[in-house]
């Protein structure tokens, strides 16, 4: 899976990634120093290519027009602040503005006794981003995907048929993968999930649930 991460990182560095997957990548970067080092290399590559362009003369008036606008507007670039201590502890910075009233301020939907899910407000409606909370030792129903699912582990860990994913790990699943993620015993697992198409539950119960899965 790390090979696909390379491609996602490149798309993020070049600016080609849409909001949904970009949020997953930004979250991954916040949690993983090795991914950050790769991102620095990619951005430095972008910088080196930018540095080598043949300059294109700008209009005579552009400098004055720009000078006139300096200090004109008080655009300060403060990063969003964490809404509360719990959010600061559990959510990496890129998620703060998607949960402006903290974890409790999100609308949690209970799936059975051990799994709950809250949708994050993405501006880009082609994607759906959720926080998924799974009680230790329990799992999400077996499912597959019509599109691609990006999962970043924010706390705890989970495993599925493919392997084990600890805090900071990212799993990229496409429609060929059918899996049943289970949180490891002993600690609840909190994940960010980004989907570009609805999940599709397999199995008998899935037939009843699929029509209710809102995208």
């Amino acid at each position: 899976m790390t090979a696909d991460l390379d491609l996602l990182l490149l798309d993020y560095a070049s600016g080609a990634l849409q909001e949904g997957p970009a949020l997953a990548v930004a979250t991954k970067l916040a949690l993983d120093p090795a991914a950050r080092a790769d991102m620095r290399l990619l951005e430095a590559t972008g910088g080196a290519l930018f540095d080598g362009v043949e300059p294109e003369a700008v209009s005579e008036s552009l400098l004055d027009a720009t000078l006139d606008r300096l200090d004109g507007e008080s655009t300060r670039f403060a990063l969003a602040l964490p809404p509360d201590d719990e959010a600061r502890r559990l959510l990496p910075a890129p998620l703060w503005r998607y949960a402006p009233r903290g974890l409790d301020g999100l609308q949690w939907k209970q799936w059975g006794k051990h799994v709950r899910e809250a949708t994050l407000p993405l501006a880009d409606r082609r994607y759906r981003a959720t926080l998924l909370h799974i009680k230790g030792g329990h799992g999400v129903m077996r499912h597959t995907h019509r599109g691609t699912e990006y999962t970043v582990v924010l706390a705890g860990s989970f495993h599925d048929e493919d392997g084990r994913y600890g805090t900071g790990a990212m799993q990229i699943c496409d429609g060929t993968i059918r899996h049943r993620p289970i949180a490891d015993e002993g600690q609840d697992c909190l994940c960010l999930g980004v989907l570009d198409a609805p999940m599709h539950f397999t199995g008998l119960l899935g037939r009843f649930i699929n029509p209710k899965v809102r995208f």
Partner: protein, 216 residues
């Protein structure tokens, strides 16, 4: 960030401010020399500490034409390219104190600003409010002498990109200049996705090997 003011003395600018009229078509070398790069970094320091408009003018003379060219290579028309260049330069003014020369080369920092402006303006798209280079320091804070290393490393990186096989360089150029995802690149080149993926992987492995090889 007071380190700029403490360590840098800067000569009176030799650059002709506001060169009017005369279209002197000096055959400029596009690539910035290390000395020039240090001077440009110092200018950002002057903006951060003193809101120095002359420093901004010199920085603008250097970067605005490059930003315009960069945007035009990405398909923007000249007016839009200038508009984005202007927005990027205003952001440089506003965020100057956030530039940390020990973490990124100036051209890299300005590239990321321009990239974000391009996302905001051309696609009018929301993006997560975070950049890898903006993340608060943690276990990956660079050592104090990282700055010299970085100047050398970014020169090496340019050299390494030039040495990549043309088909690998091409995918990087399409990605960074034209803001294209690896999926779009594969469609445009009429190549299977797997081929594009492996070219990208090979290019990145090579650049990574170069950077790691450089570390002491």
């Amino acid at each position: 960030m007071t380190q700029h003011a403490a360590t840098i003395t800067i000569d009176p600018a030799p650059a002709p401010w506001r060169r009017t009229g005369s279209k002197r078509r000096m055959k400029q070398r596009a690539v910035t020399s290390p000395e020039q790069a240090r001077r440009l970094e110092a200018l950002v320091g002057l903006i951060a500490c003193h809101r120095d408009r002359n420093a901004f003018i010199e920085l603008f003379q250097h970067f605005a034409p490059r930003l315009k060219a960069f945007m035009m290579r990405g398909g923007a028309d000249p007016e839009t390219a200038e508009e984005i260049a202007q927005e990027a330069m205003i952001t440089v003014w506003n965020k100057a104190e956030q530039f940390d020369p020990s973490r990124a080369a100036l051209s890299t920092w300005i590239f990321t600003i321009a990239r974000n402006k391009r996302i905001d303006m051309l696609r009018r798209q929301v993006r997560p409010e975070i950049d890898a280079l903006d993340l608060p320091g943690g276990d990956d804070v660079p050592p104090p002498d990282a700055r010299l290393e970085l100047t050398q490393a970014s020169a090496d990186l340019r050299g390494s990109i030039a040495l990549l096989p043309p088909e690998q360089r091409q995918v990087l150029q399409l990605a960074f200049f034209e803001d294209k995802s690896h999926g779009v690149i594969s469609v445009e080149l009429g190549l299977p996705l797997g081929t594009v993926k492996s070219r990208i992987r090979l290019a990145l492995a090579r650049l990574r090997g170069m950077v790691e090889g450089h570390q002491p």
